[in-house]
């Protein structure tokens, strides 16, 4: 197959969706007027597929901080962290992350994807072993591949299967980096992190937690899944992103147990890419303060999640997991999922359409992510739109009790 033939094959699989009148891959948000509403193809829609969990993208303090930073420090750093791209604000954010997470050291990256690829590919190398949860994010797989380490998968969220794999590795378990996520972003299920920690400690392995979707959303103080499950001191490395709860873009790796500063001169994705723009760092720092100071944002987020989850369950949808800020409804086929996605959009609700191979187990799902900023009216609109889909697309018996409609 020539280079361009591959492109044609890819286009054909996208044409399957296009034939249904759906352009999910290219859906453009023309105007994002607020954290929860935007304009797509001339229509106002409620945004319910944004990962904007705390709704801070339009928070006044965050916007003001970004504006002030762009005025005083300019539009970009035009350099990598190792060269001319480390400003006082980057260092300050790292200090503030250390203080917030109780970490010994942390490193800020330009995106969350880069944080994972860079950290994982550098922590482990040839001769080492990586054992990752099968449902891990693309950036984890990518980092593992780039590392040169031997890579094994264990069954999703299965500590016993992890134990089996570490046992098979024998003495090499002590050269092994185990990788899991906190909240899995496609189905919205949560890692049994405390049990994973027990297993990796039993075999003397190291653990990296990708807390991208749980940072800010879980734990009494928003410190993520390790805080929520009471195992912060057991996790060796945490990576995360600024593009979910913190409402900007960027990523980090932090450790309570180890000094990771030496990695700065090792991680190529840190050394050879431009650092974050000062305005991005400024709004991230402002948002980080709010995560600590405004626990009511988390309360509201989880209330919204619970309402939508129970309503969609009552409508007869098959749900991906217990309620969490990510609510996946599992559809029968890619075609049905695509039609449902378009119906939701026509009803003024934007969610994410995920078709194979985007979601685990080759599932076709509609992925709804809630925000603390969703108003009760917007939550009603989301539920009503799904009710329309249930009416028109699904011939499942409807539950009678427990619905919010």
């Amino acid at each position: 197959m020539s280079l361009l033939e591959k492109l044609e094959a890819a286009q054909r699989s996208q044409d399957v969706l296009k034939a249904l009148g759906v352009n999910a891959i290219g859906a453009t948000i023309d105007v994002a007027g607020s954290a929860t509403e935007g304009e797509i193809a001339g229509n106002r829609v409620v945004l319910a597929g944004t990962n904007n969990y705390l709704g801070l993208t339009f928070d006044q303090a965050c916007v003001d901080a970004a504006v002030a930073a762009v005025r005083s420090h300019g539009t970009g750093t035009t350099g990598s962290r190792l060269a001319n791209g480390t400003y006082a604000c980057h260092a300050a954010l790292e200090d503030e992350l250390n203080a917030f997470l109780g970490a010994r050291s942390s490193i800020v990256f330009t995106t969350g994807y880069v944080a994972n690829v860079g950290t994982i590919s550098t922590l482990a190398g040839p001769g080492d072993v990586i054992v990752l949860d099968a449902d891990s994010h693309a950036s984890i797989y990518e980092g593992a591949k780039l590392s040169g380490a031997e890579v094994y998968r264990f069954r999703h969220n299965d500590p016993d299967d992890l134990a089996k794999r570490l046992r098979r590795l024998g003495e090499r378990a002590s050269r092994t980096l185990v990788i899991v996520e906190g909240l899995y972003s496609m189905l919205g299920d949560v890692s049994p992190l405390k049990k994973i920690c027990e297993v990796k400690d039993r075999y003397g392995a190291y653990l990296l937690l990708d807390d991208a979707h749980s940072f800010g959303t879980m734990g009494a103080n928003g410190r993520g899944l390790a805080e929520a499950q009471g195992c912060e001191d057991e996790v060796d490395f945490i990576t995360g992103t600024f593009s979910k709860s913190l409402g900007s873009v960027g990523g980090y790796c932090a450790s309570r147990k180890h000094d990771i500063n030496p990695l700065r001169a090792q991680i190529r994705a840190y050394m050879f890419t431009a650092s974050s723009t000062p305005s991005v760092i400024a709004s991230t720092r402002a948002a980080l303060q709010l995560i600590g100071r405004r626990p009511e944002l988390r309360t509201r987020l989880w209330q919204n999640a619970k309402r939508v989850h129970s309503a969609l369950g009552s409508l007869g949808f098959t749900l991906g997991a217990d309620f969490s800020p990510v609510i996946a409804t599992i559809m029968d086929s890619p075609q049905q999922a695509a039609s449902a996605w378009q119906m939701l959009l026509d009803a003024g609700v934007y969610v994410n359409l995920v078709v194979p191979p985007g979601a685990p187990k080759n599932l076709s799902i509609l992925r709804c992510s809630l925000s603390a900023a969703h108003t009760p009216d917007q939550i009603n609109q989301i539920i009503s739109a799904y009710a329309l889909v249930a009416d028109q697309l699904m011939d499942r018996p409807k539950a009678v009790a427990g619905g919010s409609i």
């Binding site: 031997e150 094994y152 998968r153 089996k164 098979r168 191979p357």
Partner: protein, 101 residues
């Protein structure tokens, strides 16, 4: 089905430490049995049939097949090597090597 566990005895007839050994053919048969559901009853998937291009498995199916083999033979199969696996023959040779470790 479990891999055949051979008890090796020395010339003197004294029993040596029991070891688990799997032959290439046993691996092939095990894999063919696992793939039985993909072909008509009575048929077997040939050793040199390309699992993805010819048999029509998705890469995820191959991964699942390997996971099952890991459990049956109690081995660890690195996913780095996934790209090298095209046929039952490829898979059986590698599984056989791993059980020798």
């Amino acid at each position: 089905m479990n891999p055949t566990k051979l008890r090796i005895t020395g010339d003197s007839g004294h029993e040596l430490r029991p070891i688990v050994m799997t032959t290439y053919n046993e691996c092939v048969m095990q894999i063919q049995q696992m793939l039985q559901s993909t072909v008509a009853k009575g048929d077997v998937v040939g050793e040199d049939v390309d699992l993805i291009e010819e048999l029509g498995l998705a890469s995820l199916d191959v991964m699942e097949l390997i996971e099952q083999l890991e459990d049956v033979f109690d081995i660890a199969f690195p996913i780095n090597e996934l790209g090298d696996v095209r046929t039952i023959s490829d898979l059986a040779s590698r599984v056989q090597q791993l059980t020798d470790r």
